[in-house]
Amino acid sequence: MSDHHSDHHSDHHIVPQKTYLAIFACLIGLTLLTTGVAFIDMGPFNTPVALLIAFTKMLLVIFFFMHLRQSSGLIRIVLLAGFFWLALLIALTSSDYRTRSWTPVPQPWSASAPPTHP
């Protein structure tokens, strides 16, 4: 009961219908955008742009449809913890794959061979 005062009856705030419709329009717009830019060659940036758009869409859904905007700090921390741990999992796993090839290249057959790398 100690956390009561911080998030007092926040869930009861009613969001106007207009807001939901506007957010929906944004989401549709972003979907069309991400589909559209997939047809443009942006070199290495296609993936980051697609993920950025997806991330924006996620934030819209979380903050407006899921009412995170009206939720308590505790719930925001819980959600952040989820994303943080997911990031840990992906980062510490993929760093293995990214650095495996850094290991010194096996040396050639015998000492008489010329030096292998600059």
Binding site: T103, P104, V105, P106, Q107, P108, W109, S110, A111, A113, P114, T116, H117
Partner: protein
């Protein structure tokens, strides 16, 4: 120290350095276990309950003490970390000029192939005093090549190469264990490493059932599997020449550069379309399932040999 019955034999250069660290951590362990046990016993006796309604005064804690017993362990583990990592990194790279031996793990045996062509099963003969590098792969599940007397161990994975090296310091016969659980007869996947005097090793090499050398076997495979029809030596064939390629950087169609090491050559044989050399088309078929791990090892040995032949200056746009 050698008489101590609870120490495995020290038979490689690595073993001695690892043992020093091992003894240091043992000392740390004994020291702290001793302190904790002694303190607890002392307090248990000194502050035993003398009357049922005793009410000791409260002690909140002590920041200086907390800082002290955070800092001291931190310093000790930092030392162990640096020490252990330095050794590990030193042991990760085989010294130049190591003798190379090819090891294949298979449920439940070790197949070993010397460059000169000697093959043995569950036995590894090496000369004393020379660094030996093992290139290892598995035909089925994960195994692990473990020689306690050398303090070396490495998983042997299917589908890729791992390597380890050691320099024996003692003549003798030592245990070779599989240390990664690999199925029903995991415990039977053991063998011995036989360290010999160099001249004795030479005699062993020349005697026995020497087959053809790995390179020679690889050359035969290179012809039999049709590699030679495209990978022409003069670089004018539909596939790049392999002269002087091994160990050198290779430029790919996607702009990346990779070094032609064992892993790259292996991948190029099994998954030829994964990395295409700049200026060539992906026409090579995959040899997945058509070559055994030993045959791939032989082919790599041959390609390494080709790598030592000086490439002709006009081919391979190398900066």
């Amino acid at each position: 120290m050698q008489g101590f019955p609870f120490q495995p034999e020290q038979a490689s250069t690595i073993a001695r350095s690892v043992d020093y660290l091992y003894f240091f951590i043992t000392a740390v362990t004994l020291f702290f276990t001793g302190i904790i046990f002694a303190t607890i016993f002392y307090f248990m006796i000194r502050y035993r309950r003398r009357s049922p309604d005793e009410k000791p005064k409260a002690i909140e804690g002590s920041l200086p003490l907390e800082i002290m017993w955070t800092a001291i362990p931190t310093l000790i583990v930092a030392l162990i970390f640096v020490w252990g990592s330095t050794l590990y990194f030193r042991n990760a790279e085989p010294p130049r000029g190591s003798m190379e031996i090819f090891v294949t793990g298979k449920q439940w045996m070790w197949k070993i192939e010397h460059p000169e062509g000697q093959r043995e099963i569950n036995e590894l003969h090496v000369p004393v005093g020379r660094p030996v590098k093992l290139t290892m792969t598995s035909e089925d599940v994960i195994h692990d090549f473990f020689v306690p007397a050398f303090r070396v161990k490495k998983d042997v994975n299917p589908g890729r190469y791992t390597s380890l090296w050691f320099q024996p310091t003692k003549v003798g016969t030592f245990h070779l264990f599989c240390a990664q659980y690999c199925g029903a007869f995991h415990a039977g996947m053991i063998g011995s490493v036989i360290v010999m005097e160099p001249d004795e090793y030479e005699r062993w090499l020349s005697g026995g059932v020497a087959g053809e050398s790995m390179e020679a076997a690889g050359e035969k495979l290179f012809q039999a599997n049709g590699c030679i029809t495209c990978h022409l030596a003069d670089g004018k064939g539909p596939a790049p020449s392999l002269l002087g390629v091994y160990g050198q950087p290779v430029h790919l169609t996607d702009g990346q550069t990779v070094t032609a090491d064992d892993a790259y050559v292996r991948e190029s044989i099994l998954l030829p379309r994964a990395k295409i050399v700049a200026g060539y088309t992906p026409i090579m078929p995959s040899y997945q399932g058509q070559l055994t791990e030993e045959q791939i090892g032989n082919l790599i040995a041959y390609i390494r040999l080709l790598g030592k032949v000086q490439a002709k200056p006009q081919e391979e746009g190398k900066q």
